[in-house]
C-alpha cells in the first residue's frame, strides 16, 4: 500500500515548534557544513570540536563568546525592530560604524576627564549618529517610497569609507608608526570591564535594551502599532496609525541601537578605531533577528549561539588554518536552513491512506 502525501496549511503552530524548528534548521546547516568541510579535506568532527572547545571550553572562551554576543544582541535588536514593521534595514553595519565614529569624535573634540560625563556623551552621540544615518533611509522610504534595502546597503559602504577617511586621514594616531588607527582612548573614556576578561559593561546595555524592547512590543501602544503596520499595513492605515511617521521613528531607533553597538565596541573593547573594526556584526545580526523570530529575549540567546560560531571560527583559523570566510559560509547555510524550515511551521505533511474519503470543499 503506497501512502500518498498531502501538504496542507497549518491553522495553528504547536508551541514546541517555536524552538525545535530553528534548532533543527541549525542542525541541518551544521550537517551541510560538515559535508563541505570534508570536501575541503578537513575532518568535520575535529573542526566542530575545536570550535566548541575554543568558544565554550574554558572561562576565557566563554567570556570571548559573550564579548561577541554583546554587539550581536544590540544589532539584532536593532534590525529586529525594523523587520517587525517589514522595513528592511540591512544597514546595521553602517550604523554601527557611525556610532563608533561618533564615540571617537566625542573623545577627540569634547574630552572631559570624567567617566560618567564621557559615557553619557558617547552614548547620546552614538545614538544620534546611528539614528540619523538609519532615519535618513527611513525618511526616504516614508516620503517617496525609496527602496530601503538598497539605500541602507549603500550607506554601509559610505559609512565604512567615511571611517577609512578619518582613520587614514585626519584622525590617524601620529605615534602609530604609520599603522592606520586612531589615537587610543584615555582611561576615562573606556567602558569598565568585568573581572579579568574583556567583557565590558555593554553587556548590561544589551540585556537592558532587550528587556526594554520586550516591554515595548508587549505592553505599549507604540509597540502594538509597529506590529500592526508589519502584519497588515492596510488595517493600520484604516485604524489611523501614522505609518509614515512610524517608519522614520522605527528606523531612527533601529539605527540608534546599532550605533550603541558601535560605541560599546570602540569604547569597551578596542579603545580605538581601526579599519574593518566591526567585522560584519551588522550582517550577522540579520541571522540573529531571523533565528530569534524578532523576539527580543530570544535575541540574547541566539546572539550567544552565534558568538560561539564566531569565536569558534577564530579558533578554526588558528588551529586548522581555515580562513575566516568559512564562518561566513556556515552563516549563509544557517540562514538557508532557517528559511527552508519556515515551511514546516506553515505547512504540515499528511499521509493519505487508501480508502480515506476525500473531502471536497467549495
Amino acid at each position: 500500500m503506497k501512502p500518498r502525501l498531502r501538504i496542507e496549511r497549518r491553522l495553528d503552530v504547536p508551541s514546541w515548534m517555536n524552538w525545535s524548528i530553528p534548532a533543527g534548521a541549525v542542525g541541518v546547516a551544521l550537517a551541510a557544513g560538515a559535508v563541505l568541510l570534508s570536501l575541503l579535506g578537513v575532518s568535520p568532527l575535529a573542526a566542530y570540536k575545536a570550535m566548541i572547545q575554543g568558544s565554550l571550553g574554558d572561562a576565557w572562551g566563554i567570556s570571548e563568546t559573550i564579548v561577541k554576543a554583546i554587539p550581536l544582541t544590540l544589532a539584532g535588536l536593532a534590525v529586529g525592530l525594523a523587520f517587525t514593521m517589514v522595513v528592511w534595514n540591512i544597514g546595521a553595519e553602517g550604523q554601527i560604524v557611525m556610532g563608533a565614529l561618533a564615540a571617537v569624535a566625542v573623545v577627540r573634540y569634547a574630552f572631559v576627564d570624567n567617566s560618567l560625563v564621557m559615557f553619557s556623551l558617547m552614548f547620546l552621540m552614538a545614538c544620534l549618529a546611528g539614528g540619523v544615518w538609519a532615519g535618513f533611509a527611513g525618511f526616504l522610504k516614508a516620503r517617496w517610497n525609496v527602496n530601503e534595502t538598497i539605500t541602507t546597503l549603500m550607506m554601509n559602504y559610505i559609512a565604512i569609507l567615511l571611517a577609512d577617511y578619518f582613520i587614514y586621514g585626519p584622525w590617524r594616531d601620529p605615534s602609530s608608526l604609520g599603522f592606520p588607527m586612531t589615537t587610543p582612548f584615555p582611561e576615562a573614556a573606556r567602558l569598565p570591564v568585568l573581572g579579568g576578561t574583556r567583557v565590558h559593561v555593554g553587556i548590561f546595555l544589551a540585556v537592558g535594551l532587550a528587556i526594554l524592547f520586550r516591554v515595548l512590543y508587549r505592553w505599549t501602544k507604540w509597540g502594538f502599532e509597529l506590529r500592526v503596520i508589519g502584519n497588515n499595513p492596510n488595517a493600520a492605515r484604516y485604524a489611523g496609525i501614522n505609518d509614515l511617521r512610524n517608519v522614520v521613528l522605527a528606523m531612527f531607533f533601529s539605527g540608534a541601537v546599532a550605533g550603541i553597538a558601535g560605541m560599546t565596541e570602540v569604547a569597551g573593547l578596542q579603545g580605538r578605531l581601526q579599519p574593518g573594526f566591526s567585522g560584519g556584526y551588522g550582517f550577522t545580526a540579520i541571522i540573529v533577528a531571523w533565528l530569534a523570530r524578532l523576539n527580543p529575549m530570544a535575541t540574547i540567546l541566539v546572539s550567544f549561539l552565534l558568538g560561539v560560531l564566531l569565536v569558534g571560527g577564530d579558533t578554526l583559523q588558528v588551529v586548522m588554518r581555515l580562513p575566516l570566510s568559512s564562518v561566513q559560509v556556515l552563516q549563509g547555510l544557517i540562514l538557508f536552513c532557517v528559511l527552508g524550515a519556515e515551511f514546516f511551521r506553515n505547512y504540515r505533511i499528511v499521509f493519505i491512506e487508501r480508502g480515506e474519503r476525500r473531502e471536497w470543499k467549495s
Binding site: I150, M154, I158, L335, L339
Partner: protein, 309 residues
Amino acid sequence: MEILIPILSAAIRSGTPILYATLGEILTEKAGVLNLGLEGLMLLGAFSGFSATMVTGNPWVGLAAAVCVGMAVSALHAFLCVTMGANQVVSGLAITMFGTGMSALLGKAYVGETIRGLGILPVPLLAKVPLLGPVLFNHDPLVYLSYVLVGLTCWFISSTRWGLTLRAVGENPRAVDAAGLSVARLRYAYTMVGGGLAALGGAYLSVVYTQMWVEMMTAGRGWIAVALVIFGIWNPLRAAFGSYLFGGVGALQLRIQAAGTTVPAPLLLMLPYILTIVVLVGISVRKGKGILLGAPASLGQPFHREERD
C-alpha cells in the same frame, strides 16, 4: 572630444559587468521573484570563472563554468522562494552571505595568480567609424554580446509569446496557472537565467576586465545592479544606460585618482554609492508624480496554488 573617447570607452567596459547582472535581475523580477543575492552570485561567478580559466586555459570555458555555478546557486534561491515560499529578501541576503564566504574560502588559493583572459577584438569596419567606433566597437566579445542581449531581452519581453507569459507570471500568476502553465517552473527558469547572467557579469570582472581574482572584488556592483533595475523601471534599454552611467563614474574616479588629486581616495570611492542613492531617490520622486510604475505586481510574493488571494 579626444579626451572624452577613452572615458566613454572605459564607461562601457566597466559598466558591462553591472549590465549583465541588471539584465538578469530584470528577467527574474519580471517573473515575480526578487533576487537580492546578485552580489554573492557575481562573486561566485568571478571566482569560478577565474579558476576554470586558470585550470583549462580557455576563458570561454571559464565563462561557461561561471554561468553554470550562477544557475545552480540561484536554483537554490528558487527552491526556497518558489517551492518553500520563503521570504525572498532574506533568502537573497543568505545567497549573498554564502556566495561571499564561499568565493573567499575557495578563492584563497588563487589570490595573486594571473590568467590570459579575453582580449580586445575590434569589430571590422565598425571600429573605424569616427567617435562611435572607438567608444562602442573596440572591445572584447562579451561587450558585444551584452549589446545583443539588451536588444534581445527588449524584443523578448515586449514582442514574443514567451515574453508575454513572463510578464503575466510577474503580474498575475493566477492567470498563468489558469491558462495551464506552471508558475513554479517558469519562476525557476527565470531565476536561474538571471543568476547565470549575474555570475557571467562577475566572471567578466575576473576573466576579462582585471584578469585576476581578489576577494570581494565586486565591491557592491551586485547591489548597484539591484538599484539599476528600479532606475531602469524594468526596461533593459534604460538599464543599459544606467549601467554605463555607473561604469562612467567608476572610470572617471580611477582617472581622477591617477591624475594625482588632493581629494582622499575613500571620498572618491564613495561616489558610485552616493550616486546610487541619488538616482534611486530621483526615480522614486518622479514615480510619485504619475510616471508608470514598472514593478511587477506580484514581485516578492510567493504563489500558493491552493490558496485564494
